[in-house]
Symmetry: C2
Subunit: 214 residues, 2 copies
Amino acid sequence: MVKQERAVRTRKSLIQAAAAVFAEEGYVPSSLATISKRAGVSNGALHFHFANKKALAQAVEEAAVEVIRQLVQVSDRSGTNALQSLVDATHGLVGRLLEDIVVRAGFDLSAERALGGDTALMRTWQAWVEETMRRAEADGHLAPGVEPDDAAAAIVAVTVGLEVLAGGDPQWLAERRIVGFWKLLLSGIATDDVLVSAWPAGGRAQTAVDVLER
Amino acid sequence: MVKQERAVRTRKSLIQAAAAVFAEEGYVPSSLATISKRAGVSNGALHFHFANKKALAQAVEEAAVEVIRQLVQVSDRSGTNALQSLVDATHGLVGRLLEDIVVRAGFDLSAERALGGDTALMRTWQAWVEETMRRAEADGHLAPGVEPDDAAAAIVAVTVGLEVLAGGDPQWLAERRIVGFWKLLLSGIATDDVLVSAWPAGGRAQTAVDVLER
């Protein structure tokens, strides 16, 4: 393995280890020694890649932002309507929160007071939700009187709330919770036309009627 | 002032000071020395009342739980229907989160990984929201097909999410956000009859039509 490849691999394993330690212990009490040990690298190697814990936290969050960017790009390119894109992306996000420790730690960090809150991860997710909701409005898919920014805010607040609550009980991120939320929200915001063809369980699920009658 | 009164007062000022320090610095980095200094009492006095930081955190949370209990009792006794009780209590909760540092710190603590998450405060709020939503169902105020537990989960997730997001930007707890959320949710869950007489801005606001047409 050439030197550069090894450096990339070490950096990646440090980010994974930091995410795991932050997620288990919280950002503030985590020590760099625990993180380097978990990554199986020396303290010196850690400091070669990251000046301090804050730099490591930023790298974890950037990695999580990249996952979110890819996730919303997939939703954007799926050729479905804007509201269905939002449903699909929410399911995708919850899947990543359950499976990918970097995404979970990235969300926790973005709510971390010690880092100032209101970070890139939250802004990326919020910006895409707002933009996509305005696209739904432009396409005439929102019921009369629905403010796209209100609907976007509800989605952002619910995703953040579910992630925080899941720290105490993972059932908050269960598939049925997300489906239940979308059934309610879609009835509140979508036009009747869009509602009958919407899939609250996500685009690759069975027909809309199956889901709504469950 | 008799001795007992002074003890009660000292205990109360320690809880207030702890809430302020936890809210500003986060639970884990806060020191007992900072808290006793802020309360204007000696370290000895602090230790007379609280064995350690965890005991202080529990006292903050218990004080917050008591505020929530009173809040939902007021909503229960208002003689309004169950859905309007939920709207009113949410507005009440957000008001307390903005004004009362103990309530805000209590919510933060209940999402604190170091304390194990899933605490009494969250359980108290969630239990009341679930119970009240089931009352709405029993009264026939939920639209056909609406699962009361889904609706309750959405409310709990939104309140938690808004509180966390407000750590970065207090605008997340702005009155119009809560009104906007309830307008959407009520259209999704309430029967048409209940919807026309519901006040998303809370029970003491102007008529429903004013609010809905804003």
